[in-house]
């Protein structure tokens, strides 16, 4: 990372800490803000958070590794999470999986070469009455079929 980039990131994180506070209880909101903007929390970001909240970087990593919506490795610009839980499964989510993998040429758990999309499975997103359901970042899409799912993914930047 370039020095200017590092400085910019430090400043950004300082902004979050000013907004949410220096207490330990601000850790998740700060990490969530970084995750939202950068799609992951880099080693450098972890160090900065640790320094500003005054805890050990290992602590920060340990928290990130616990939560499935926080990432410590780079992901695509958009994180797609398809629900794998029972009612979506019963609503033929497997057909949606196959269609998405075919269309994007990657498997779930992978990121497209152009860094546009990371595919993940997730557990019940509370849309079981309208499955199959998926989330793209913080938006939810329901009543998917293979074609609809692929069309939605092809539209995102």
């Amino acid at each position: 990372m370039l020095v200017v980039e590092k400085n910019a990131l430090s400043e950004e994180i300082e902004g979050y800490v000013i907004k949410y506070g220096k207490d330990r209880s601000s850790l998740l909101p700060v990490l969530q803000a970084i995750q939202r903007k950068h799609s992951y929390v880099s080693d450098f970001a972890m160090q900065e958070v640790a320094r500003l909240i005054d805890i050990h970087p290992v602590e920060v990593f340990s928290v990130i590794s616990f939560y499935s919506f926080l990432h410590s490795k780079p992901t695509g610009r958009n994180i797609v999470r398809l629900c794998q839980t029972i009612t979506c499964d019963m609503a033929n989510k497997n057909k949606v999986v196959e269609a998405i993998e075919r269309e994007l040429g990657i498997k779930f758990g992978e990121t497209t070469k152009d860094n546009r999309i990371t595919l993940e499975h997730t557990n019940c997103v509370g849309m079981c009455d309208q499955g199959p359901a998926m989330m793209i970042n913080d938006r939810v899409y329901t009543k998917l079929d293979p074609e609809k799912a692929v069309n939605i993914l092809n539209e995102i930047k």
């Binding site: 330990r24 209880s25 928290v63 939560y67 839980t85 029972i86 079981c128 989330m135």
Partner: protein
């Protein structure tokens, strides 16, 4: 092509005896603030309201304990982590009835003597955040929140915090750990949150639906509420119905409704099995469809997943156990290792490589997990394993053409 970027708030009028009955935003707060705290607790006790988040703890007792705890600071937390598979009633309450949830929090805060309310909203519901924040802003403008609410001596505000994708954070002590900036690992109890909760202060943690009942009780009295339901399960319950039926969705019904009455209502046909209470609940066969919902009958947080005759119950069970293997926080051995063993057992059955002796060992393991696990996750994760293997053993072990092999013939 229609892409849905936001959930359409269904404008269809919902009907129900309690939660979906009439209520005007703010009226419960207005009435409560004119009452003594003891009187509100008395109404609550009269109502018989119990926690709707799954554990069924009497709300009046929880609030009385928090009110009695001596501390200059107290918190009330709304548990909106709704992660139990098949549950989405809190989504409907938050999006369509925020006045009930937030007014319930204000009344609760007043009753227990809290200055701050926190909503712990699951990450999957982040799309609601903006609207909910706007709603809170409006409440502040109407002085339903903030300094000296409606001219009383009571000051109180609510903030919303997001989860980050961990089912176990719905467990109240894990939720508090998460709010404090730690891994969402459940704590040993005691101490209970009512004595030592968020940041060590007395804290009442309540489910979205529990809080939503409170403004109605304040407006219409505890004895009105108590008239609905059964002796030990008063009031109504929101059911999140999904799976094989024509009308999935959220239904408000009095406790004491039978499973088959609900199945009729949602137009379920050829139903073979119903999973009640989500992945951590139990799976019942046809012969039990005349049973009632209720704390003393079939207790439930309201998740109802319907399976018709075409469904493979071993496959269903496998999906549930995969869920628990992923979501166990790994802190204690019975749950961390136990769920993996149960899942392996299911895979063995699927491949036709099992002995009944080993299956019985796994059932014993499941029973051990129910008592030896540290929190409700590990205590309840064997429920579906035990109930499906028991109630659907014919299908899983005895039927030749479907020897647990996902519908394919076994070698």
């Amino acid at each position: 092509m229609k892409t849905q970027t936001k959930i359409n708030i269904l404008k269809t009028e919902r009907t129900g005896p309690v939660i979906f009955s009439d209520y005007k935003s703010g009226e419960g707060i207005k009435k409560a603030l004119k009452q003594k705290k003891e009187d509100i607790l008395f109404e609550l006790k009269d109502s018989g309201l119990k926690g709707r988040g799954g554990a069924g703890f009497p709300t009046s007792t929880k609030w009385m304990l928090t009110a009695a705890a001596k501390s200059e600071k107290k918190f009330i937390i709304c548990n909106a982590d709704e992660g139990e598979p098949g549950t989405f009633k809190d989504r409907v309450l938050l999006m369509e009835y925020p006045q009930l949830v937030f007014d319930g929090m204000v009344i609760g805060g007043y009753t227990i003597g809290a200055q701050t309310g926190i909503v712990y909203l699951r990450a999957e519901y982040e799309y609601m955040l903006e609207e909910l924040e706007n709603y809170l802003t409006n409440m502040r403008e109407d002085n339903l929140l903030g300094n000296k609410i409606l001219g009383s001596d009571f000051s109180f505000d609510i903030s919303i915090r997001l989860g980050s994708g961990a089912y176990v954070c719905g467990e109240e002590t894990a939720l508090i750990e998460s709010l404090e900036g730690f891994r969402g690992e459940p704590r040993n109890r005691p101490p209970y949150p009512v004595n030592r909760g968020y940041l060590g202060y007395p804290t009442a943690v309540n489910n979205v639906e529990t809080l939503s009942a409170v403004p109605h009780i304040v407006m219409k009295t505890g004895s009105w509420f108590e008239k609905f339901g059964t002796d030990r399960s008063t009031g109504s319950k929101l059911f999140s119905v999904s799976g094989d039926c024509e009308k999935p969705g959220v239904y408000e019904l009095p406790w004491g409704t039978t499973v088959s009455e609900l199945l009729d209502l949602v137009a379920a046909k050829n139903t073979k099995a119903v999973q009640i209470g989500g992945a951590s609940g139990i799976c019942i066969p046809k012969s039990h469809f005349d049973h009632k919902f209720g704390y003393e009958y079939i207790p439930t947080g309201g998740s109802v997943i319907i399976f018709n005759e075409t469904r493979n119950m071993l496959h269903v069970l496998k999906n549930f156990m995969e869920f628990f293997v992923e979501e166990s926080c790994g802190q204690c051995t019975p749950c961390r290792i136990g769920n993996v063993k149960l899942l392996e057992g299911i895979n063995m059955i699927e491949r036709g490589e099992y002995t009944f002796k080993y299956i019985n060992t796994l059932k014993e393991l499941g029973k051990t997990m129910q008592v030896a696990s540290k929190c409700g996750l590990g205590q309840s994760s064997p429920n579906s394993f035990l109930s499906i293997l028991e109630n659907f053993k014919d299908e899983i072990f005895h039927t030749l053409e479907n020897n647990g092999s996902n519908g394919k013939a076994v070698k």
